[in-house]
């Protein structure tokens, strides 16, 4: 294939309208990339405000009410408008058709619609930052959200509601595309594991998101019309809201982490020059995580007043999720064994993912244990745990994938030394920020307060210092990736010498991806002719 095509998807047409009305999955991916980066920066600023306030035990930067709005906006923006769309909307949109040898997703117009829905929801939700704020926490617990909060809960919930349909449409598009549009010879067990991960994610998006939609709609109705759906005074049950909310919002954790696991599988194989060890198990573990993820939502409610029996069942089921998660970690590690490993930036993020996800996953088992959970519930231990999964896991996968496929997205190479340095700084900054929070939580510091006893200050200073390092680490890719657009060396079609159909088309790819539909004759990751290490 040619190394540089005259008419790539980037320069095939010009003007703002050619982007805003595009149906090209690759351009829509870039629209998502730009908007997600902006919302990530916004969510990061809210986090910065939180860490700055927590530098000292007293509330000397903002009032408790302002602090409540800060952590709520941080959670809402980061979860609904960054992490949930992140890998699927950017990398998935770009790569799913390329990896399966298709010219586009099955429904290009729906794909564009989903970006508009995302933008509408996200913009509506962030306008509350200047129209009264929102202080319910990202979880919108009733009856506080429906009755007592004096902040702009309506607009925030409506924003999350609208963005939910964006997520549903993306998932629907992926499922149909993966089922119906694979190239000849590309059987299910020749698919890249990135595709398996996105298929499992899409199942969750399609099945779980409608339930949170109805839950948020009921909250909005209750708040708007003063009726008592979750109001105990009228016979309603606040716990019912928590059930409906977590029925989506726990699986949503797997919407965030599964696509990143798919990214890590691709990177580990490419930078170890080996087939993924136990391909079938890694593929099915994605489906197992998606399935089990639907059965564990009650572990968020151990101390909410659900029955002891329900708590026991949810505890046991939560332990089960560790099995497919561990299958992935062990198989990635086994893939490294006797591989010829190179430590480029994507690989650093992937290795970071394995380590941090393991810590996040193991502390998740602490929290699934009923007795321990009573002790650390609503403390910084929980905050640290889910940031190890969300940042150390999901975000590391996103950044690793962005670095891995950046030459394909843009046709440009970034400076590798800077990229490696940034990965190292982000890793260090992340651990410095969040590891002290495990200790703080175990010592009993509760989450969501803007003041704390003085003995917790040292660890909080560490955490805030780490957040500053992390902030610098995030700025570095922003600078050198933007720099590369203009000044980076031109990338050929396969700069990593990797396997996969996406590396067979030029960088950046032509508008319709493939001049003729490719025929696939080999399994994924056929790096070594005689692969004795694989299953």
């Amino acid at each position: 294939m040619s190394t540089h095509s005259a008419a790539s998807y980037l320069n095939a047409s010009h003007g703002i309208a050619s982007w805003l009305f595009t149906r090209d999955h690759k351009r829509i991916a870039l629209l998502y990339l730009i908007s997600l980066s902006l919302f990530f920066a916004l969510g990061g600023m809210f986090a910065g405000a939180i860490r700055l306030e927590l530098l000292t035990p007293k509330g000397n930067l903002m009032s408790d009410a302002t602090y409540n709005k800060m952590f709520t906006l941080h959670g809402v923006v980061m979860i609904f408008f960054f992490l949930i769309p992140s890998v699927p909307a950017v990398l998935g949109n770009f790569l799913v058709p390329l990896m399966i040898g298709a010219r586009d997703l099955a429904f290009p117009k729906l794909n564009l619609l989903s970006w508009y829905l995302y933008m509408a929801g996200a913009l509506l939700a962030v306008t509350v930052a200047v129209t009264g704020g929102v202080d319910t926490g990202w979880t919108f617990y009733t009856p506080y959200s429906s009755t007592y909060s004096n902040t702009n809960v309506m607009a925030t919930a409506a924003g999350a509601f609208i963005a939910g349909f964006s997520s549903i449409l993306t998932g629907l598009n992926f499922i149909v595309t993966i089922h119906k549009m694979r190239a000849p010879g590309l059987t299910w067990f020749r698919l890249p594991l990135f595709i398996w991960a996105h298929y499992a994610t899409a199942l969750i998006q399609v099945l779980a998101t409608p339930v949170v939609a109805i839950a948020l709609l009921l909250v909005m109705l209750e708040r708007g019309f003063g009726v008592g759906i979750f109001d105990p005074k009228l016979g309603g049950d606040p716990l019912l809201f928590q059930h409906l909310f977590w029925f989506y919002s726990h699986p949503a954790v797997y919407i965030m982490i599964l696509p990143s696991m798919g990214v890590v599988s691709e990177i580990i194989a490419a930078f170890s020059r080996k087939r993924i060890f136990g391909y079938d198990f890694v593929a099915f573990s994605s489906l197992a995580i998606a399935l089990l993820g639907f059965l564990v939502w009650g572990h968020h409610m151990f101390v909410s007043g659900q029955s002891m029996y329900a708590g026991l069942v949810f505890s046991v089921l939560s332990f089960l999720v560790a099995v497919p998660s561990a299958v992935k970690v062990f198989n990635w590690t086994a893939t490294l064994y006797r591989g010829s490993i190179s430590f480029d930036a994507p690989m650093l993020y992937a290795l970071g993912f394995i380590g941090l996800f393991t810590i996040g996953g193991l502390t998740g088992l602490f929290l699934a244990t009923l007795g321990v959970d009573v002790h650390v519930h609503d403390t910084y231990f929980v905050v640290a745990h889910f940031h190890y999964i969300m940042v150390g896991g999901a975000l590391f996968g996103y950044l690793g994938g962005l670095h891995y496929w950046w030459p394909k997205l843009t046709g440009r190479l970034y400076p590798h030394t800077w990229a490696r340095l940034a990965a190292a700084i982000i890793f260090l900054g992340f651990n410095l920020t969040f590891f002290p929070q495990f200790l703080l939580g175990y010592l009993g510091m509760p989450r969501r307060y803007h003041v704390y006893p003085e003995e917790f200050q040292v660890l909080n200073v560490f955490s805030t210092a780490g957040a500053s390092v992390l902030g610098i680490g995030y700025l570095m890719p922003l600078i050198y990736l933007l720099w590369s657009l203009r000044s980076g060396a031109k990338a050929d079609s396969n700069p990593w010498n990797a396997k996969g159909l996406e590396w067979q088309v030029s960088s950046p790819p032509p508008v319709h991806n493939f001049d003729q539909v490719p025929t696939v004759t080999e399994e994924a990751y056929a790096y070594a002719p005689a692969d004795k290490g694989g299953s």
Binding site: P108, L110, T177, L207, T209, I214, V227, I229, G236
Partner: protein
């Protein structure tokens, strides 16, 4: 919803692949709808089990004759919808138009009867919130029942309105000579949606109107 208007879109290899994708997409969309209504039905089930008296009591306030007539109307509309799909496949333009028009008419009758029922509830002071002026025992839980009555039937009615709009678009397309023979797919997909909305009502009717009627 996918919108194949017959011509082959560039991302597909052939019409068969395009049709299969559209059908799968619609079924997936209906699954998301099942989950959406499923959340409501789950909430209904929880409250019915915690307040069985109020639920039976509330059910007796509903007009089972009007509900019954509406059930018959909606089932009839499903029949005409199915006949419309058949007519489109056989390229019978007049029959297609007639059946689409009948489906729209049945849908409109359903919504009309529903509006009359809503009006009666308003007059009786049974609309939750500040309109709830009904006097009787266990008012709070009765109000909760009527909340679910209005949310569930309201959500169903909203889906019917969407369906009517899509059916109207199909009528326009038919008048322009599309949707016949090989291009019947939009009619079939709309039919799937319409039948789904009917099935939701088939569950709503007994769960809301009939639970207070035995014993």
């Amino acid at each position: 919803m996918p919108e194949p208007h017959g011509a082959l879109a560039q991302q597909f290899e052939d019409l068969e692949q395009q049709h299969e994708s559209a059908t799968l997409g619609m079924w997936l969309f209906l699954i998301t709808e099942i989950m959406f209504f499923g959340g409501l039905f789950a909430a209904y089930a929880v409250y019915r089990s915690t307040h069985p008296e109020a639920w039976h009591n509330g059910s007796r306030h509903l007009d089972v004759v009007m509900g019954g007539i509406n059930t018959a109307v909606l089932i009839s509309s499903s029949l005409t919808m199915a006949l419309a799909v058949r007519a489109a496949q056989l390229s019978k333009k007049t029959a297609l138009l007639a059946n689409l028009a009948l489906t729209i008419a049945f849908g409109a009758v359903f919504l009309g009867i529903k509006a009359i029922e809503y009006h009666h509830k308003l007059e009786a002071g049974l609309v939750p919130g500040r309109f709830f002026t009904y006097v009787g025992p266990d008012l709070d839980h009765l109000q909760l029942f009527f909340l679910f009555y209005f949310i569930m039937t309201g959500m169903h009615a909203f889906h019917m309105v969407v369906g009517l709009v899509v059916l109207a678009v199909l009528v326009v397309m038919t008048l322009k000579g599309r949707l016949l023979g090989d291009f019947y797919k939009p009619v079939e997909l709309t039919g799937l949606y319409w039948h789904f909305v009917d099935v939701v009502w088939i569950f709503l009717f007994p769960l809301l109107y009939l639970i207070g009627r035995h014993g």
